[in-house]
């Protein structure tokens, strides 16, 4: 029987599936629910300095090949979040904290506030495609900004820092290298693409209240796989492959491109909250059939 356990940034994961940030995740109970349904690790929804309500509804809709979302970082703010996640002892898997901000000082402030939370790692998206002041809308995806923000947060914590990049960056390897140089322990490749737009023709209006939103799901997968493939060649730090992973085969595709673990989000809508169990089972089935004994053997296999 294939061994699907992995070690990532000092975390021991029972399988390589990780609940991606932004899907449930505002409360301890919500990430525990993903853990109870098989996730190898879970990531909380990103926390900002102050409380945010995010965009008005509609915020998340689906289309023929995936999902479109503009939630806008709704969260109770750093102080409340620090209380919510103060005790994670009853969650059986590693919990990854996620933080974001509009300025470097805000990233640092949130990191300071979350210091007391027993997270296994810290992730920060520099890549949200649809929230004014954040991510690609604020230029946080440039190599220079990535370096500055990463450096500042790494200085503030002993935890490994994961930088989440945007798949729409053309020179993705340069940004990954900048993050690595600034002290990032891993790359999450990555965020949603776009932003894209869906218009209701009967009501003659973009459906999302934010008008445009990030594209995820099957439509995103080839783009995310190619980005993982490019980054694998450019950096030595581990990669978490996120984008359109629906099945075990999709996960293995990510591993072969160079990821050591996979993020899962949109697939929860298509296959249920127990998608983590399903994908893990399918990975093991593939490995048994193809004669792989460990996940490691498949990482980067497409480069050989």
């Amino acid at each position: 029987m294939a061994d699907i356990r992995i070690e990532l940034l000092g975390m021991k994961l029972r399988n390589p599936t990780i609940l991606a940030s932004g899907i449930v995740g505002s409360t301890k109970a919500s990430v525990a629910f993903a853990a109870a349904n098989g996730a190898g690790a879970v990531t909380i929804k990103s926390v900002t300095r102050d409380r945010r309500d995010g965009f008005a509804n509609p915020t998340i809709i689906t289309f023929e090949a995936g999902m479109l979302n503009a939630v806008g970082y709704s969260n109770p703010g750093a102080k409340q979040a620090a209380m919510e996640f103060a005790d994670l002892s009853d969650i059986p898997v590693p919990v990854i904290g996620s933080l974001t901000g509009t300025k470097t000082e805000d990233f640092v402030y949130v990191m300071q506030q979350l210091k007391g939370c027993p997270f296994a790692a810290i992730e920060m998206p520099l890549s949200c495609p649809h929230t004014p002041g954040f991510g690609t809308m604020a230029g946080q995806h440039s190599p220079e900004a990535t370096k500055e923000i990463t450096k500042a947060v790494v200085k503030e914590t002993k935890l490994p820092v994961i930088v989440k990049l945007s798949p729409v960056i053309q020179e993705i390897a340069d940004v990954a290298k900048a993050a690595e140089k600034a002290g990032a322990a891993a790359i999450n490749m990555g965020n949603t693409a776009g932003p894209g737009m869906i218009i209701n023709t009967g009501l003659k209006k973009p459906v999302l209240s934010g008008t445009a939103g990030g594209i995820s799901g099957p439509a995103l997968r080839p783009l995310a796989v190619r980005c993982v493939y490019d980054i694998y060649k450019a950096v030595k730090i581990p990669i978490i492959g996120t984008g359109g992973v629906m099945t075990g085969n999709d996960a293995i595709e990510m591993l072969m491109a160079g990821a050591q673990a996979v993020g899962i989000g949109t697939a929860i809508h298509y296959r249920g909250i127990d998608v983590f169990n399903k994908v893990s089972k399918e990975i093991a089935q593939f490995m048994d059939q193809e004669g792989y004994r460990s996940i490691k053997e498949m990482v980067g296999a497409a480069h050989a």
Binding site: S26, K45, P58, Q80, G202, G248, N249
Partner: protein
Amino acid sequence: MHDIPSFSFSRPARLEQPQAVRIEQIVDEAKNIKSFYFSLDADCKAGQFLMVWLPGVGMKPMAVSSQSGKLASITTAAVGSFSKRLFELKVGDRMGVQGPYGKPFDLDAGKSFVLVGGGYGTATMVFLADQLLAKNKKVTMICGARSKEYLLYTDRFKAMKMETLYCTDDGSFGRKGFVTQALKEALKEKPDCICTCGPEPMMKAVLGMAQEAKIRCQLSIERYMKCGIGICGSCCIDPTGERICTEGTVFDAKRAAALTEFGRYHRDGSATRHDF
């Protein structure tokens, strides 16, 4: 030959996007409360909700209050900015509707049912009564409101083959007092199942009475929602993290009793906690 295992999943044919519908009929139900009827290309079950979209204003989950053939309705009070804008719409105007979502009531939980509706929760209960009566179940309806002018569906109830008990806080119609008093009497008949929807303190009291009487109980629980499709996490409830939009809205007594936040607090759009 395919020797690589292929993993597939059945993708839902329906896209989770609002569809433009035309308002066919508007009914004044009570003071500041209206039902909006529209044609819907989906079968709704009691306990489910629809997302109603007004472009430029917002989108809100609303309980289905009826469906007959393709004609479905929602019932709402003009309390917030969204419903006030909804109330400005006229027959023939368009709005967006998406869904239905949520786990519905189990109609096969017995032969005799007592339904307890409080306030706008009565919208869910009247639709449930429709569906139970269509299955030849015995139904007793208990509905409560502040006073006579807030009681919903009194004409609709009259036309239904069931006993209806009204309770008002001020005694202006039916009996004076809470629905729990009427429920106490109804429980003497030993119904198979109690179903309830309404203010959470009321549901909590109903749950307690059901457990004490050892009668099966189903509760439709409400929480702040954004997406309605199980992704955003706004409606995750403590301590299980279950999503009201997906694992709910209907919980049986055992599952509801395990919810430490039930009857105590809820969260808003930023996930900030508020006590009831």
